[in-house]
Symmetry: C2
Subunit: 434 residues, 2 copies
């Protein structure tokens, strides 16, 4: 389990020509899953796998039953309009399917003729949510983000005493998670009174922000009452996507005590359509280490094998004005998942220590991924120091928080020498007026 294998051969090329371009997100070493429909039949969602600029229709492939054994079993879980059945399997079955897909899409495959008919250009597709998300949990695993934001919410007490011991998390809203490409209305809400003793203000959020996160889709879950030990935790990861945890900072500041964020977050969240399987990310695992000045993880959060991931994330912004002028989006910041204080295995192990049951298709958010340096902020709150320093966009506009018409675009990719670039696609959405 979790070993590199023939699907990770960096020399492997596909007969889908676009998959061999150096700038593609989806070389044959990636093979991300999505739920898609053809624009011509927009309600007929099905499971597919990305290859170059094409999507291979796995529902159609399943009906041809080309594989045997475990791969066939996994492929038959791809007949539905979400990935939950596939997610509910296990690493051995996921790996068997990946192996057959890789061989079938590789140059020289005898299945080329069969599969060619099952490809749809990504430009002709629309996407659905990859899974029916039963529960969505958001964590808070970037020490850099927690410190920077803590300073603004609690100047005297930025990092609370539990932070370095507890992977802090809370439950978010599943119903308002959308797939990339949507727009949403600026939330209304209650905000802190302007003067002590005055009534709270009610109106459209004035401090609307994005949060740059990764989402982790849980594969096979655990029965209620039985925890997942950290040694087994990585085998419960199906895959990763991009996640924008839109946040209304003014609503949050007023509502969040004592039970945490609620309406400041649950109006909308956005995820990218493509789920990058954990197996595709294995070449980018790196050792997880704690700074010697920080406490070592408690035994239930300690593992010799659990690893960090080297995934670079980026934030881009376009505005009504930039689009009207035909300009490209502006690059805002970038960070890396490897700078997080906690790793995924720790999140899963912590989430279940009390017997809480995870289910296939559950989504864990990492929390905002910010790095230690300037230019690595995962939110405007951090970039603009709570709205105090304007951000200057290349076309002359300024931003402290998001304005109506702004489109935020997240990207992510894994890169290293002599290995094809593993991209995540894009996670984008647009703010509409209240």
């Amino acid at each position: 389990m979790n070993q590199l294998n023939a699907t990770h051969d960096p020399a492997l090329k596909s007969w889908v020509v676009s998959a061999n371009q150096p700038d593609t997100d989806f070389p044959i070493q990636n093979l991300p899953y999505a739920v898609f429909a053809s624009k011509d039949a927009a309600h007929d969602f099905r499971v597919g796998v990305g290859i170059g600029d094409q999507i291979l229709d796995l529902r159609a492939l399943a009906s041809l039953a080309p594989f045997k054994g475990e791969a066939a079993q996994a492929l038959s879980a791809c007949k539905y309009n979400n990935l939950n059945a596939l997610m509910a399997l296990n690493t051995s079955l996921w790996s068997a399917l990946r192996s057959e897909l890789s061989q079938s899409l590789a140059r020289g495959s005898s299945r080329k003729e069969l599969l060619q008919q099952l490809l749809l250009p990504q430009s002709d597709a629309i996407y659905g949510l990859p899974a029916q998300i039963g529960d969505y949990t958001d964590f808070y695993i970037s020490l850099h983000h927690a410190s920077a934001v803590g300073k603004q919410f609690r100047p005297d007490n930025p990092l609370l005493p539990n932070y370095k011991w507890v992977p802090i998390g809370y439950h978010g809203r599943a119903s308002s998670i959308n797939v990339s490409g949507h727009s949403f209305t600026r939330p209304m809400g209650q905000m802190r009174p302007e003067a002590e003793g005055a009534e709270p203000r009610v109106g459209p959020c004035e401090r609307l922000d994005y949060e740059l996160e990764l989402g982790i889709f849980i594969g096979n879950g655990n029965p209620q009452g039985r925890r997942i030990p950290i040694e087994d935790a990585e085998s419960h990861i199906f895959g990763l996507c991009l996640l924008n945890d839109w946040s209304a900072r003014d609503i949050q500041a007023w509502e969040y005590q004592p039970l945490g964020p609620f309406l400041a977050k649950n109006f909308a969240s956005t995820i990218s359509p493509w789920v990058i399987s954990y197996e595709a990310l294995l070449p980018f695992r790196i050792p997880y280490e704690r700074s010697p000045s920080d406490p070592q993880p408690l035994p239930y959060l300690s593992s010799e094998t659990a690893s960090a991931l080297d995934i670079k994330l980026e934030v881009w912004l376009s505005t009504e004005q930039s689009r009207a002028r035909g300009l490209e989006p502006a690059y805002l910041a970038s960070s890396n998942f490897k700078d997080a204080y906690w790793n995924i295995a720790q999140l899963i192990s912590h989430h279940t220590i009390n017997g809480c049951n995870l289910r296939a298709g559950d989504l864990l958010g990492t929390g905002t991924l910010s790095g230690p340096e300037s230019g690595q902020e995962g939110s405007l709150l951090e970039m603009t120091k709570g709205g105090n320093q304007a951000l200057h966009l290349p076309w002359g506009e300024e931003r402290r928080f998001l304005e109506d018409g702004d489109e935020v675009i997240f990207k992510a990719s894994c890169q290293k020498d002599h290995y094809p670039r593993i991209g995540f696609g894009k996670c984008r959405a647009t703010v509409m007026p209240t």
Copy 2:
């Protein structure tokens, strides 16, 4: 909509004799819904309606198609193994079905012979969750609870400045909600270090508690981005049940800042199997009033018509010892929903002010319902002053928090002169060792 009608006639009697007993929870004026199976065919869950000590099988009734118009449409939404399809309809359809069920179960009905074959004694049934719960939100609407608990968590600052303006709520875990009658293992978790600078403790929770709540099942929801005005909010209530929001106080105290409770709550929650329709509760609406010393609700939370409900709740406890000795459970406390600071319409209106979409089958918890007086505490934390004053059980045992083998039983009912008692059934579950 929301008018009393013939189904509320206090003189109405049923041909199901047990429904006419004064101590029944389920007179013909109640007609609560549940998802049940016969013990003989324990996986074949279906929708039913309670009448006296019997359940009328609505899936079987739907196959006979005895009703016309709106009642027929609503009955055909009862063919599934959960109530979501029925919940997704509207007050007019719910009311039409209730009216036909009431007439069919009333003394003298020509449908008696037909329906008699579709009854199952409740003693021969097992229950499932009434709905597939997409999202579960827990509120905090008892000022008495918030003040008492706030005093223990934040002695200097018991009631936060937002409390009287914001119906405080947060998202809870849907996957670990169980139906009454289950048992669950005492959660493990991290707890505050015993001394400053020491490591946190990890082990079984030592301060396990119940929370006496009502659950509100959302009927028809709202599209994302469109709020539910308070005037319309009550029409989105399908019905109410009992809810035990089990809480690990020691885990909560250490983890809850800054993002709220997480593992302290998500190991298990329990709801009663019976959903009391909002229409059945209409006779127990009472005017909602704010004390003149408290701020009046903000306009989006103000309504001339939104009402409070007079529902009495009770907590009972049995232990391994009491059961071994054949003793009845001990009565611990009782409170009333009418003492809550916020009403249901306010919760719905607040939840959606930012455009958050509610879906049919979503569950809202009220938060612990405690009253102003001693004996009206909705949790042990309050009864024992944070574990400082032992509670003496009639058979000689003491409790500060829950012990392994303890079974907590909630009951609720609505009572007033000249009207049959509307009961909620029971919500019970047992703590097992870690």
